[in-house]
Symmetry: C2
Subunit: 359 residues, 2 copies
Amino acid sequence: MSESSTASRPTLEAVAARAGVSRATASRVVNGGDGVREPLVERVRRAVEELGYVPNQAARSLVTRRHDAVAVVIAEPETRVFADPFFALQLRGISKELTAHDSQLVLLLTEGRDDHARVGRYLAGGHVDGALVFSLHLDDPLPELIHGAGVPTVFGGRPGWGDGTRSAASPVYVDSDNRGGAREAVRHLAALGRTRIAHITGALDQTSAVDRLDGFRDVMVDADPRLIAEGDFTPAGGERAMRQLLDGCPDLDGVFAANDLMASGALRVLRERGLRVPDDVALIGFDDMLPVAEQTDPSLTTVRQDIEEMGRLMARLLLRGLSAGAATVGSAGAGSQEGLVGAPSSVVLPTTLVRRASA
Amino acid sequence: MSESSTASRPTLEAVAARAGVSRATASRVVNGGDGVREPLVERVRRAVEELGYVPNQAARSLVTRRHDAVAVVIAEPETRVFADPFFALQLRGISKELTAHDSQLVLLLTEGRDDHARVGRYLAGGHVDGALVFSLHLDDPLPELIHGAGVPTVFGGRPGWGDGTRSAASPVYVDSDNRGGAREAVRHLAALGRTRIAHITGALDQTSAVDRLDGFRDVMVDADPRLIAEGDFTPAGGERAMRQLLDGCPDLDGVFAANDLMASGALRVLRERGLRVPDDVALIGFDDMLPVAEQTDPSLTTVRQDIEEMGRLMARLLLRGLSAGAATVGSAGAGSQEGLVGAPSSVVLPTTLVRRASA
DNA sequence: GCAGGATCAGGGAGCGCTCTCAGCAGTACG
DNA sequence: CGTACTGCTGAGAGCGCTCCCTGATCCTGC
């Protein structure tokens, strides 16, 4: 029979009564206190304190049409994705930023196609002020749905459909400099004196994989096609690709894998074939996924991206867009994609090469 | 200027008008349609469809005092915790279950002590119907705060303060059978003919670590104290503990580490000292943390817990308690801890030994 | 010392929904 | 054929809050 149950939660009315002011004045104080004289502010503050008043968010939302909540949509077709700390870190960054702005984080995990409709409905339902979306695959229907829902959105990772390809205004996104990071990795291998450098790509329906491949090509301008093998971001895929590479080109002396997981698979194959790393073959991964990169033997040289910062930035961009939109469009017209007009556009974060033992 | 912005979202009123019924009837249909004759139900359904009506959750919550939302609180003092897929999987399980019951998942990540107060305030604010809490440390103030907030809660992992130690009713929680899993691991080592079996504990301010240690002791009833070394669930801690164990007892032939991360550290030390695994020393971990357990060389024999199922169960328990509470206490009195009276109590899930190469 | 302007408090409407309660069918029975 | 009863439907009252707008208060300038 806790006191905080229904019957006893104080309302603004109660606070006003106790402070001897009107509901309106109490409301002003609770929402910042502008335009209320100091002594009254003080009295209301004390009443709030004494009563343990907490505003009823539902009542507030009903009239303001703001929710102080942001949806985070993680489309997750593969279990693999979730098995790495990527999203956890990103969530952390997002959470920090939202918390600092008194917004809540509503997590929407999708499981297969049917779920997309559910998410679309939820977003369209106007339950949140905006959405942060991780769109992983080129053919993902999610962006379309979200655009249809008319919710201000920031994407994590460059959406597959590029900029302006569709009728929609170009999307706002936060991404790592995948291409630049890849370039740096390959250049590092070259600087080590390696000349026959191979690349194990990620799943090429994801922009990150495509961008890393592009980065590889930037440096290895006319690479032998046999030096490129398509992987899928999994360790098994890395093994497969490594075998294929070695079969096609046994004398390769450097490998850049599009993520650490594949690098670890590649490492096993290299060892299995009696090749020493980094002596015979230098190996570089991507992500700096700690439990993997640090635990391999030899430890993995890799390209680090600041994942938590990406999350934080996504949230910041969204919130900024939200308030900018509100200021521009006016309180009555907020909520549409136009809410992001005038807001800063996409951000690409730099990567850093982390040198360990494998290259 | 998307159509879904403020002005145009249809209200129940609009649906009712279009269907030629009253708001009340429309509401009944939207909420299940009991007690409304079929032709009217049909008409309302069509109107909803045509108008693309989505109920305004804020307005609904305002009167029902339900939110169809559950908070998930993850206290996370250490980065380590987040670096493993544990929470991700648990979240997935939770999400699935909540989705099936049309509830939303509000994620609350805490960062340091100050954040606890924030979480307490939020929970007490009555923004959610219940909470799922991961309380990791014995001295965590969170459970106290949550009890104070009077929100129905299910814990992930046995809370440190045991059952009934505090004045609170014994908490509802979902946990793995840490003790039983540990026993099975140690028995497996014994069955392999190992007699000098050591244990690397986890951070002993966490119940999972304590329980695993207890399981070890259950089998190794009078183990030499030198065969137990305290770790901290990190690879580095595993290395340290392994060194300590080997120094104190160079002829040990089996090691049970309280998690896979520490096992991987131990593995490195064993190799470094020229000991073969599993020939000289058999090694078992805990968690079956795939990116680690499968990638080590040799791959790790370990104790698997069904993490996703844990999450699902937590959510199920909470939701069941919520509806049970509502039925018992009546719609006016829900929301207090009593909401869980009569609900099923804690659940401990079985673990399974996964045999790989290390033991 | 008083009008005029600025500033600030309060009354009241209404956000969209649920739910109680009264009322009106339709049916069965006297 | 009238009455009682069951079963649906609709009118209306708020849930707690914000915000517009009116009215009161205070200060400034002449």
